[in-house]
């Protein structure tokens, strides 16, 4: 078909969207909500993954030393941990070092720690940071270290990560359910809009058929109408997500500097692809459903 014909289809589609104003707004609205939600979940997930990678890579096991342990005994403890076959690297982090590190992490907010700096008031403990040879052995190694006298608490990254993942998983399932329901209603609303469009143009369709317009010539404007509804429903949440995520990133950077977030441009690349595919898909599915049922060509 000629380019001019496609412009004609597009014109007809927009006319129809305008004619069924409220139905069009409703269907675009639900597509927007669905995709906005989906985009938000994606951003959340990307950051969760990013964060857990970060945690994992930083430290594998942290073993905190009891307050009653003399500093002379620390060397001995370090040797015992180093002698464990799975331990690859062992670092002693003194209370003072830990405080300095925390202060660095807080950046501008570092002044919050003023007054804790002398040996008496330092609330932190001495600790060992241990890296294991194989990541599967982390929890076994952690338990072994935990059983040493003088060690009061063992944290290991994957434990935190596991907890994080459990939370994320629950959020994801709930979100998925929501999105499924919303996606279905978005499709239903688009289908209904197209049904109304077909109905309001039944005279035109009848004439087109009697003068010999092809089936596809009759169908295309309705398919494009669904497509346009889907695309509008995609562009709005994309713009919204980009702007709001940018805002969140800026806010976090200024207020919670030690919380790492993925830069917007990196997340958005995937989100743009997925949301466009889904928006276009919802639009086309909705309209083809109605065309098959109500447009007898």
């Amino acid at each position: 078909m000629k380019i001019k014909t496609w412009f004609y289809f597009l014109g007809e589609a927009f006319k129809s969207i305008y004619r069924n104003g409220w139905m069009s707004i409703a269907s675009v609205g639900v597509v927007i909500v669905t995709l906005f939600l989906l985009g938000s979940f994606m951003i959340l997930n990307y950051n969760m993954n990013f964060l857990s990678e970060d945690i994992k890579s930083q430290i594998e096991i942290v073993a905190f030393v009891g307050e009653d342990v003399e500093s002379s005994q620390l060397d001995q403890l370090e040797k015992r941990i180093s002698s464990m076959p799975q331990a690859e690297e062992v670092d002693l982090v003194s209370r003072e070092d830990a405080l300095v590190r925390l202060k660095e992490q807080l950046g501008e907010q570092g002044h919050l720690l003023e007054g804790y700096e002398d040996v008496e008031s330092n609330p932190l403990r001495d600790s060992f940071e241990i890296r294991s040879r194989e990541s599967e052995e982390v929890s076994a190694l952690a338990q072994e270290i935990d059983s040493l006298p003088g060690i009061v608490k063992v944290d290991y990254g994957s434990e935190v990560v596991d907890k994080l993942f459990t939370v994320t998983r629950v959020i994801n399932w709930v979100g998925l359910g929501f999105m499924f329901a919303l996606g279905a209603s978005a499709m239903f609303l688009i289908a209904n809009t197209i049904k109304l469009a077909v109905y309001s143009r039944r005279q035109e369709i009848m004439i087109m058929k009697s003068v010999g317009a092809t089936d596809w010539f009759i169908r295309w404007p309705f398919i494009i109408e669904g497509l346009v509804l889907g695309v509008i429903g995609t562009l709005v949440p994309l713009a919204g997500l980009y702007a709001s995520y940018q805002y969140v990133v800026d806010w976090v950077y200024n207020n919670i500097p030690f919380l790492p977030l993925i830069p917007p441009s990196m997340v958005m690349e995937d989100i743009v692809k997925i949301l466009i595919v889904l928006g276009v898909g919802l639009g086309i599915l909705g309209s083809s459903f109605s065309i098959r049922r109500f447009l007898k060509v």
Binding site: Q203, M208, V211, T214, D215, F217
Partner: protein, 227 residues
């Protein structure tokens, strides 16, 4: 041009609309289809325009067996047939010109030809000066002329008119039929289903009379009802 060979048409509700109907219409003929309501006139028209398929028998139009037409060829087939209806079937939200142009546009006529063809066609039915008027501002006879202009705009070989004068007064009816005659004289075959005794009796063209789904009379230079 149109050949019905022992055609039967049964509807799903059990009605037999056509029973063993055969007739042959040659190129360039002007034929009236007459008979009371339910005699089968509209069924014949729908078989010709391939809106319906025969239950049994063969319908051959323009040398093609309509039952054998592929789905995607049906629209192309219909471009050879100009359809005119009792209720005009015009789009009342656009001008007379737009109505004709629409019929050309939806079969992808090149833009340059649309204007020329549409205006030519309106000229022929005598409505060139009303091109910008909306259909509802026209009289019934004028509206039917617009629909006629639309039917002939693509120069079809065949015009099928289903009760084209059904909503018109006697004088206007004659105008419309005269117009059909002019179109016929230019070589187009015309088949007109009608209840209009005046018109049929005045023109003395071939008459095919149906009754209960059967052809009961087929005579040249016929009248509406001989008795």
């Amino acid at each position: 041009m149109i050949d019905f060979y022992n055609v039967y048409k049964n509807y799903p509700n059990g009605v037999s609309a056509l029973i063993d109907t055969s007739f042959h219409i040659k190129k360039g003929e002007f034929v009236f289809l007459v008979g009371s309501s339910g005699a089968g006139k509209t069924t014949i028209i729908k078989l010709i325009s391939r809106e319906l398929l025969p239950t049994k028998g063969r319908v051959v139009v323009l040398g093609r067996n309509v039952a054998r037409l592929k789905r995607r060829d049906v629209p192309l087939y219909r471009r050879n047939i100009g359809l005119v209806f009792q209720d005009y079937r015009l789009l009342n939200d656009r001008s007379v010109y737009e109505n004709i142009a629409f019929a050309l546009r939806v079969i992808e006529t090149p833009g340059k030809e649309i204007k020329k063809k549409a205006l030519e066609s309106l000229e022929l039915v005598g409505l060139r000066n009303k091109a910008k008027v909306k259909p509802l501002e026209l009289s019934g006879g004028e509206q039917q002329r617009v629909s006629l202009a639309r039917a002939i705009v693509n120069k079809p070989a065949l015009i099928i008119a289903d009760e084209p004068t059904g909503n018109l007064d006697p004088e206007t009816s004659i105008d419309i039929v005269n117009l059909l005659r002019v179109i016929n004289l230019r070589g187009t075959t015309v088949v007109m289903a009608t209840h209009d005794k005046d018109v049929v009796d005045r023109l003395r063209k071939r008459v095919i009379e149906l009754e209960g789904g059967k052809v009961v009379r087929d005579e040249l230079k016929g009248v509406y009802r001989p008795s």
